[in-house]
Symmetry: C2
Subunit: 344 residues, 2 copies
């Protein structure tokens, strides 16, 4: 059933029916009820394509998810972020279009989305330092909101981020307070903006307490379980082994734990671990007491809020772009304890 048929059934013009259904005032209350009833009875729903052709609004938001060309790996936080965003779209009548694309094709994808009129705006995932995508989006005039920040981008833009620097700063100090002096950092790729900020927080934390930063204790790679495992195994067996690890993802932290156990050490006694925890729905950090002491911030909540920020921006393009900074919680779990040998 389309609008034409529905209006014929009712003996009204398409104009009136359309207006009745879209809540315009210039239609008799009685008529409106009649229309709404008929629409419900006939299960009428306006055709999205036609509607958006007529209005010029796609009522759709695009998510361009970069896949590391190397491993074709999808960021594990993606599903939860999307789930959060989805809630917002659903509530506001928007749909969600997803393009997963190896990072080399990304700019083509944005251009396509814009010129084909498929979306009204996009969420930018995984921003890098001096991210070229933002310039592109400005150039082609596609509204966007960034999950994270892109250091180096000067013009104000809409973003939502976790205070990564402060989170890792606090985590570092927490470990130092427990007597740790040799603290390793297992970080994500340091082209990623968040990874740079985390490192800065870590370094500031050390230096603030007069501890020298040791490059041997810092690794940066794709945040897999294997990365955590191998790095930890390696470092723990080497000379001047760390007594604590600061890890950028739960997944890698699980790898670290595997290494610790393989070496017959005890987590939280011989070796302490703090991880960042995105509070993924399928990857809870324990139920009552957290498995890992963690800097925690829900990526799902981030998704929902950022989606709303983008929609606000689209519906009100002249307002200043909103920005939002989450502070991560430092949750104490069972993976941290006093440094084993204070004399160290």
């Amino acid at each position: 059933m389309n609008l034409k048929e529905l209006s014929q059934t009712l003996g009204l013009s398409q104009t009136t029916v359309s207006r009745a259904l879209n809540g315009y005032p210039e239609v008799n209350a009685e008529t409106r009820e009649r229309v709404e009833l008929a629409a419900r009875q006939h299960n009428y729903r306006p055709n999205t394509r036609a509607k958006s052709l007529a209005t010029g609004r796609a009522m759709t938001i695009g998510h361009v998810i970069p896949m590391a060309t190397k491993h074709e790996m999808v960021n594990p936080i993606f599903a939860d972020f999307i789930a959060g965003a989805s809630t917002a779209y659903h509530a506001r009548g928007y749909e969600m279009l997803i393009s997963m694309v190896s990072d080399s094709d990304e700019s083509q994808t944005y251009r396509n989305l814009k010129s084909r009129g498929s979306v009204d705006g996009v969420i930018v995932h995984a921003p890098k330092m001096n991210d070229a995508r933002l310039d592109l989006l400005n150039e082609i005039g596609l509204p966007y909101a960034v999950h994270g920040r892109a250091t180096g981008h000067t013009a104000p833009y809409c973003w939502l981020d976790v205070n990564n620097r402060s989170a890792f700063h606090r985590a570092t100090e927490f470990l130092i307070d427990l007597g740790h002096r040799r603290i390793a950092l297992l970080n994500g790729f340091e082209i990623m903006d968040f990874a740079v900020r985390r490192r800065r927080g870590y370094e500031d934390g050390l230096r603030g307490r007069g501890i020298e930063v040791d490059p041997n204790l810092m690794r940066s790679d794709e945040m897999t379980e294997g990365f955590g495992y191998k790095s930890a195994l390696d470092m723990l067996q080497g000379e001047n082994a760390p007594t604590a690890f600061l890890v950028s993802s739960m997944l890698s932290a699980i790898g670290v734990r595997r290494a610790i156990e393989e070496l017959n050490l005890v987590l939280g006694q011989d070796v302490s671990v703090i991880t960042h925890d995105d509070a993924l729905s399928y990857f809870q950090n324990g139920e009552d007491v957290p498995i890992f002491t963690a800097t925690r911030s829900s990526v799902r909540v981030a998704g929902e809020q950022l989606a709303n920020m983008l929609l606000d921006r689209i519906n009100n393009p002249l307002s200043a772009p909103e920005q939002r900074l989450f502070e991560a919680e430092l949750m104490v779990g069972r993976s941290t304890g006093p440094a084993p040998d204070r004399a160290n």
Copy 2:
């Protein structure tokens, strides 16, 4: 730049330009080149909305992802499945629309997608026994393909599944061959079709070797880390503890390992574990030797193939619906070994 403007620039009619770009034969080779060149220069791309309004094809596939209302948990395999499907869509000029919706709203979502003309077909995720969604989709005439199977649905439909029964059968026999007699099953919710099949494989495996099925050794719940941990802790501390676990997901298997280690037992010696491994990109089961012995089947490959099957079906509705059954590989890793006490 739209078609009208482009055709004016070229001094041609819209018809000719449209045909030139869409590869119709009735256009002069020279003209076509001229058109293609101009289109490239002006960065012209047809408006999707207008195109699909005119053709009646949305060139979009919907994925309706159910979220367990209880925990709002998203199935962790989702991202990789989507990544695979995305490859197929990309290659064939389709886009991907995602709706994440708590399972109570699902049928409304399908109805919407259909009557608003947003998609040409959908992928059905996480089929249950006697899944009502398939009847609904048949009724409203929306093409679909199922990831998994829905036991009880009689009419033939398009699906792709892993041979869960045989995988768990083989895994069970593998453990029995190692001398295990008390083998626990940590399964997903048994409303889910795959979970029922896995249980059947497990039970058949036991009975085939004359081992009685013990309900105390079977649990079924949401496949989280915590579920694995708690179940294993519980069972290992109880009387008649199992010597081996058959687990439905890597995540839960990690929980099982945590329990094992907390009890100062050794994985692969005191307790054996086999898990199903969906070969998730961000969750590799070790690099050289697998951490866990596993029944393995790539959910990403499944996504790509099923997407292609759906597109084939849409473009050729009269052909018989295709079906595809993957056999899982049984990969031997470091989590299995002979039963500790053969006298048991």
